[in-house]
Symmetry: C2
C-alpha cells in the first residue's frame, strides 16, 4: 500500500540520518534506506527538500518530512502505539526538547569542526573545550533524568538518547584522531556507561558505524559532507 | 496554589517573549509578566536559564521552561483542553514545526540584522532579499495551509501564526525605517490580510507594539537587546 511505504534518504555516517533510522527501528517500522550519492545531491533529494536540500529526508507514502528531530517526533506521533520516544509529561517533554536543541545548536557544531579538523590549533582547543563542557552538562542531565536507569528516557531509548547517541560514531573518531577522551569513565561515568548500553541496543547496534570504518571512509566523506549534511 | 502560578520573564518588544504571551492568552491562562531590566540580566533570569541566560523564561509553579517555541509547545500540552495551538495530525505537526524552525533559523536572523542596522549597504541589501524571499515562500505556505481561512492554523491562531506573527511589530519598523514593503498587498496578499487579522485578534492585540512606540524605544532597546534576546 502506497501510504505505508517508508523511505529514508541519507548517507550512512550522518548522525542526523542515524536519528531517523533509530526511531524507525524502535517503532519496528520497515523502511528502505536510500543511499544518497556522495558529492552530489540526487534529483529525489532536491525535489523532496527544496528549501534546505539536506539529508535526512523521510518519505512516508506521499508525505515528505525533513529535519532529523522533526522526523523523530513525526515517527513518535504517527506510530503512537509502539514504544514511546518522547516522554508523556508536558514538562518532561519541554526539558527533553530543550536539551535536544542544545545538542543541535551548541554541541554538534563544535563536534563538526573537530571532526572536519581546523588548521588553527587555538580553534581546535576552543571547540574541544566546548565539547568537554557540553558533555559535563549532559552528564548532569543524564544523572537527573535517567534516575539510575540505563537511558535518558528510563529503561528504554528515548528522544534525548537518540538526539545525542546518533553521534557516538563521531565521538569515537574524535577521541581516536585527537588522542583525547570525550566520554571519560571518571569524569562522565553515567554517559560512559550509557554510551555502551546505547550502542548495544537492538535498535541501534547496526547503525553506529565502527570507528575504523569511519576513519577509513572519513576523509572522503567529510569533505563531501560539508555541503550535504543537515 | 503554588503550582498554578505562571510568570513570564522578558521585555515587551521581544518577539520571542510575545510568543509565550500569545500562547498563554489563547489558553486563557492568567500570568504575571515580569519585565527584565534593560542592559542587565536579573538574578531570577540567570538562575532560571543558566545555560543560555536568555529571555523568555516561563516559570510555572516550581517548573522552569526556556526557549520560546518550546514554551509554546509546553503551554499547548499542559493546558490541552483549551483551544489547540499545534494541529493534531502528525504530518501537519511536522510541517508546522518545519516552518517554525525555518522562521527561527532563516528569516529572523536576517530581520534582526535589518532591525539593528548594518553599516555595509551590501549586507543590508542581501539580508532584505532574504526577507523578501522568505515572505514569498511563507505566502505560499499560507495559501496552502490556511485553505481560504484566516490563519495558518485555520480559523484560529496556531503555532505558525504565533511563530511568525510575534515579529509583526519589527516587520512594521523595518518597513518604515527602510522605506520598503515587506508585506505587500500585491506580492503577498494572503500574508498582508493575515497580518491584519492576526494583530486584531483578542489574544494578540495588546502585545504587538505600535510602530511609533517601537521606533521611539527602538534604539535604546535594540542596543541592549543584542545580548539578552533568545
Amino acid at each position: 500500500m502506497a501510504t505505508s511505504e517508508v523511505k529514508v534518504l541519507g548517507i550512512w555516517p550522518s548522525p542526523y540520518v542515524i536519528r531517523a533510522r533509530i526511531a524507525l527501528n524502535i517503532k519496528s517500522v520497515n523502511y528502505e534506506f536510500v543511499q544518497e550519492p556522495i558529492g552530489s545531491k540526487s534529483e529525489l533529494l532536491l525535489k523532496s527538500n527544496p528549501i534546505h536540500k539536506k539529508i535526512p529526508v523521510m518519505i512516508h507514502g506521499d508525505k515528505i518530512i525533513c529535519e532529523s528531530l522533526i522526523i523523530v517526533q513525526y515517527i513518535d506521533e504517527f506510530w503512537s502505539s509502539a514504544p514511546q520516544i518522547l516522554p508523556s509529561d508536558p514538562y518532561d517533554r519541554a526539558i527533553t526538547r530543550f536539551w535536544g536543541a542544545y545538542i543541535d545548536h551548541k554541541l554538534f557544531p563544535s563536534m563538526r569542526i573537530i571532526a572536519l579538523g581546523h588548521e588553527d590549533n587555538e580553534v581546535m582547543k576552543k571547540e574541544l573545550n566546548i565539547i568537554y563542557e557540553s558533555f559535563a552538562l549532559l552528564e548532569d542531565v543524564f544523572q537527573k533524568s535517567s534516575n539510575g536507569k540505563k537511558f535518558f528516557g528510563g529503561e528504554n531509548i528515548g528522544y534525548l538518547d537518540i538526539a545525542l547517541g546518533c553521534n557516538l560514531g563521531w565521538v569515537r573518531v574524535t577521541e581516536k584522531m585527537n588522542n583525547v577522551k570525550v566520554l571519560d569513565e571518571e569524569k562522565t561515568p553515567g554517559l560512559y556507561k550509557w554510551s555502551q548500553d546505547f550502542s548495544d541496543d537492538d535498535a541501534v547496534k547496526e547503525l553506529i558505524p565502527e570507528t575504523e570504518k569511519m576513519i577509513e571512509a572519513g576523509l572522503f566523506f567529510m569533505n563531501k559532507m560539508k555541503a550535504s549534511q543537515s
